[in-house]
């Protein structure tokens, strides 16, 4: 039991942390402000756009701006450590692509995108784009 506690992390061989009762959707609504106007982005686009395989995802919640202000909140609980690492790589590529899109086109959005990064804690990944991205990221990863 001590060994299991020391291992930490997640994955098929390591024990998954005790079930987190709060859904990602609930965490997003608790942690993030001014999201009423954001649209729920389809889970299928996590694969079709970003390349994250659906079988790598245990749970995901994704909001994006309907306009051009760049606001985005994406939280993913991956299936296991390997899945989380794969998803992390793909999300970093996605973020880089968003930066390239905005660089010469939407300077304020570009600034928001360069001020943020993909964050991972155990099997949970978060990408927040917005004025309070750091605080939101911290809150979303809290307890993961």
């Amino acid at each position: 039991m001590l060994a299991a506690l020391l291992l930490g992390g997640c994955g098929a061989k390591e024990s998954i942390p005790a079930a987190v009762p709060v859904s990602l959707e609930d965490k997003v609504f608790a942690a993030c402000k001014d999201i009423g106007e954001l649209i729920r982005l389809p889970a299928g686009d996590l694969t079709d756009l970003i390349g994250i395989e659906q079988e790598d995802i245990r749970e995901a919640y994704w909001l994006g701006s309907s306009g051009l202000d760049g606001r985005e909140i994406l939280a993913i609980r991956a299936l296991d450590t390997q899945a989380a690492l794969r998803a992390e790589e793909l999300l970093k590529g996605y973020l880089e692509q968003r930066r390239q899109e905005a660089k010469n086109y939407l300077p304020e959005v570009y600034q928001l995108l360069t001020d943020t990064d993909v964050a991972r804690k155990n099997c949970t990944l978060v990408l927040c784009v917005g004025a309070d991205a750091k605080a939101e990221t911290k809150a979303l990863l809290d307890g993961e």
Binding site: D48, L49, G67, Q100
Partner: protein
Amino acid sequence: MLKKTVCLLALVLLLFPLARAEQLTDSERMTFYDDALFVGDSLARMLRNYIVPLREEDPSFFRDAKFYAAYSYQMRTAARERINADDVNLIYKGSPKTMCEIAAALNPPRLFIWCGLNDRIALHIDWAMSYVDRIMELMARYAPDTQVYFISLPPVTRKVENQSHVQAKWDAYNEALSEKCAQVGAVFIDVATDLKGEDGVMLRGISYDGEYHLNEEGNAIVVQTLLEFAQEQYDLGLWTLNGYAVTE
């Protein structure tokens, strides 16, 4: 007797289009866009953002249509066969891909292309025409079963027109694009007309940014225009319900 037969035949041929002109419901017209691929810039991205929440409520709304759009995407990039790392590219399953590569992968029945703003295309109509040629050549090789549609530029706002006086150029580009499409086997979709007011620029109250982009109301008009376009295609016998394009 022969004369009567010929007259009867002529009458039938004349009336046949009218007989086909049944008014489809919006749900039926929507099926024209099932499994379609939309590619473009921020205009296409915002259209997608308008459609996505509606599709959450009603999966038949642009059922399974896929959108690949990037904020500053250019028609020049859409006309590339190979990725240029300096371009803003579309991302398909995590990798930058050209439009023709995505079309090859998805093999959609229809491809709708909505871009040109970032090329300042209305100021370079000759470039635009060469891009159209290139796109059609690529599509013939990469996705020969896909019908290609080019969507017109929307009108500019009164603010932009007062500053830059470009609407006439926008209109000229749209006309040139329409003619080009007829020449190369693509189909032109005019969304500009329904978005214009009597003064020939964008209707008041439908702009997202006061310049080029459309808000929710503007995108609602675009969707309505697309549905009417589907009706027109049906009336022309170019599309049947429960099927894809009738052979041209």
